[in-house]
């Protein structure tokens, strides 16, 4: 029998429903308006793909989208590599000199205001005399997103049963082989989820990209941002809907990966 103090009350249900509606309604409205045939927001002119066609004829916007996708893919890959290595160091390295600095450097970018990260990286690139464009944005995004990858992979590594690695080593594996043959397959889903997160974060960033990019190489969010400052444009609704669709696919893949991860974790536990 449910106890009065622990029961799910009507108040609980209402706040939950309102909260979720608050989170989702604006996005749903945006998606619906992207199919509006009318240029005016007040008028519903029927369903149409007009604004999507407009986007696919907009050379500058397409270039920006391509720039964003390639920066996202390259930086997410680098970030996943570095972030996973960092997670292994933190979760398995026991105590070492400089550990506190290391974890501090990895956790603070998660909350650091973007204007600070962006400005500081730009000043570094200027001091190094680096030409600003694709690579500077990629390096900036790698630095930010590898921290998120580290957190995702590290939390997976800490809950993983360590006796599996130890058994492999007892059976004659050296640590590197034990990691590659036992640990790595078990954390692959977390690594995949980390890559996806890094990619979407890179695809989303305006501030750091604005600081670190050079003239003529704007990313999609930079372009969207400068259009949005001038007001609502139906074409932007269409672009935003496409980005949302892309991210939705990514979320499905990532959640599938993490489901796989927890399923494997459970099956590994009784060992």
């Amino acid at each position: 029998m449910a106890h009065t103090v622990t029961r799910l009350t009507r108040f609980n249900m209402t706040s939950l429903a309102l909260g979720l509606a608050f989170l989702y309604l604006p996005i749903v409205i945006l998606v619906i308006y992207s199919f509006n045939a009318s240029r005016l927001v007040t008028v519903w002119g029927g369903w149409s793909l007009r604004w999507y066609r407009e986007f696919f004829n907009d050379r500058a916007m397409l270039d920006a989208a391509w720039m964003s996708l390639s920066v996202g893919a390259v930086s997410a890959t680098l970030a996943t590599l570095l972030g996973t290595l960092a997670a292994v160091g933190l979760a398995r390295g026991e105590r070492f000199r400089g550990r506190a600095l290391f974890s501090g450097m990895l956790y603070s970018p998660l909350v650091m205001p973007e204007v600070i990260s962006g400005l500081s990286l730009l000043l570094l690139f200027v001091a190094l005399n680096a030409e600003r464009g694709f690579w500077t944005v990629t390096i900036a995004h790698t630095t930010l997103t590898m921290c998120f990858v580290t957190v995702v992979v590290q939390s997976r590594l800490t809950v993983l049963d360590r006796s599996l690695e130890e058994a492999a080593m007892d059976l004659g594996c050296d640590p590197v082989r034990a990691f590659l043959l036992v640990t790595l397959p078990l954390i692959v889903p977390a690594i995949v989820a980390g890559w996806m997160l890094a990619f979407t974060l890179s695809l989303d960033d305006v501030v750091i990209a604005s600081f670190t990019t050079g003239p003529g190489s704007a990313t999609l969010p930079i372009r969207i941002y400068s259009e949005v400052r001038l007001g609502v444009k139906p074409e932007i609704n269409a672009i935003c809907t496409l980005v949302i669709a892309l991210i939705a696919v990514i979320i499905v893949v990532a959640s599938f990966a993490s489901k796989l991860s927890s399923a494997r974790g459970e099956s590994a536990a009784p060992l």
Binding site: F11, A127, I247
Partner: protein, 303 residues
């Protein structure tokens, strides 16, 4: 035990590459911010005169004599900066409180759902975090603009007789901030609330506490770590927020992130922008240290 120690050595070696990366691209850049914040503005490319060249190996004392604290003096003397810092703090504190008030009931509702539904609700809260932040703000501009959906509904219901100005107001900015940061508040709250032992509440109930008393005397005090984590996770980035106030708030009072952006991109005054960044960073050191501690404790305990 010994297997762990043998495993630890290559694990530490694995950390070398990310360690060097973070030193080069996270730590060293702060050195440049500090250095440029102490230099003079110049009309050149880059727009500052270098304070000292590390390569020349000049005596440290001589170099120090060249340092200019003018930019920091400007920050203190010019009202614009002080007002922006104050505004940033006020906005961040207010938003964090609103987030707590809205986020707590939602997280509480989630924690009380049947186990199977908790995973679904958690997923539903995480999804907006993945969806582009800029797009979500843009979605609100669609709704809040002069002939947007909100005004249409209000007019149709005869609640107002003329369209209300929503954009470029503080209310729109708070709405945008709360909307964007809500998942960051809900998730840590949910994490502590869902781990709470239900038998504690039952015991309180058995001892005669009403549900409200049980909440204030048992649930709320036990959820304080989650409250702290959620508050820091929202407060720190909101202080330096740029995009939301820029798109939704009016332009008559700026947050520090906007001032920094303006100095940098519009006025091309890199030294002053750097000084503003250093001051902002100093402001954020205590909450950052607190946050780092919480995060480390949570991750290393396997929470």
């Amino acid at each position: 035990m010994s297997a762990r120690r043998i495993f630890a050595r290559p694990a530490r070696l694995a950390a070398i590459a990310p360690y060097l990366w973070m030193v080069l691209f996270f730590l060293v850049p702060f050195g440049f911010v500090l250095k440029i914040s102490l230099s003079q503005t110049a009309i050149a490319q880059p727009p500052y005169t270098p304070v000292f060249d590390f390569t020349e190996g000049r005596a440290a004392l001589a170099a120090f004599a060249q340092l200019s604290f003018d930019n920091f003096k400007l920050l203190i003397s010019d009202n614009l900066y002080i007002l922006s810092y104050l505004r940033s703090l006020v906005v961040a504190v207010t938003s964090t409180l609103i987030l707590l008030l809205i986020g707590y009931p939602i997280a509480y509702g989630m924690a009380r759902l049947p186990q199977r539904w908790q995973a679904v609700a958690m997923m539903l809260v995480i999804v907006p975090f993945w969806t582009s932040f800029l797009i979500r703000i843009y979605a609100w501009i669609n709704i809040l603009q002069h002939d947007g959906l909100l005004n249409q509904i209000l007019l149709a219901l005869h609640i107002v007789s003329a369209p209300v100005v929503w954009l470029s107001t503080d209310s729109a900015m708070y709405l945008g901030i709360v909307y964007s940061y809500l998942p960051f508040m809900i998730l840590p709250l949910y994490a502590t609330l869902s781990k709470m032992d239900a038998s504690l509440l039952e015991a309180a109930g058995d001892l005669g506490a009403s549900p409200l008393q049980a909440f204030w005397l048992v649930t709320f005090p036990l959820s304080l770590p989650g409250v702290g984590a959620g508050a820091l996770l929202c407060f720190i980035p909101i202080v330096g927020e740029f995009v939301i106030p820029d798109l939704l708030a009016g332009s008559n009072s700026l947050m520090i992130g906007q001032t920094l952006w303006l100095e940098f991109f519009t006025n091309k005054d890199w030294p002053v922008a750097s000084a503003a960044a250093v001051a902002l960073l100093l402001l954020l050191v205590p909450p950052l240290v607190l946050y780092d501690r919480l995060q480390r404790r949570q991750l290393e305990a396997g929470g």
